[in-house]
Amino acid sequence: GAGVSQSPSNKVTEKGKDVELRCDPISGHTALYWYRQSLGQGLEFLIYFQGNSAPDKSGLPSDRFSAERTGGSVSTLTIQRTQQEDSAVYLCASSPSLTGGRSGELFFGEGSRLTVL
């Protein structure tokens, strides 16, 4: 597709279960981001991938959260032993590589809504 694709769109799970959220960025975009959006809150930065560089994991809230990006394309965000406070919309975004350190537009997916019962 032409845009950022995320799956599943909605996920309901029981407390303590593991979940995987998938993001397929726009083809050719080298940068990929995960954000978390809780009800009534802004976007909380989680993790950032840029090409083959080591990811910036500074936003991950705990060691239950991890993410990988295979082949510089698809990314999976994994939450282990889910807790009720993990309930949120998880947004993925990608952007093309820009020269000179300029900041450009992020292209977002529609998000994955996670509900932990």
Binding site: G42, F45, Y48, V89, L91, G101, S103, E105, L106, E110
Partner: protein
Amino acid sequence: AQTVTQSQPEMSVQEAETVTLSCTYDTSESDYYLFWYKQPPSRQMILVIRQEAYKQQNATENRFSVNFQKAAKSFSLKISDSQLGDAAMYFCAYSRYNNDMRFGAGTRLTVKP
């Protein structure tokens, strides 16, 4: 750390009228970028307008314009001739480079017919 503050959780405007959404940010940098993103009920965030801090001229995109006050660290969004399709959450964002985009808490805009 850079922070972005949107002090208006909710705003309302009459169709065809003008509304201004406020945003302030905190940074010690002189070169950076500011953005307004729109998030309709479909959840997909889309870029509305972008401002580069080194540019003194305020950015404009059709009915959307900004009032960028660098010294005051203020970046407000003005929507003219509001339309029903403008109803959404609006997020202000700050970034120096792509890997540090920070968002405000958002303002929910309602457009009344």
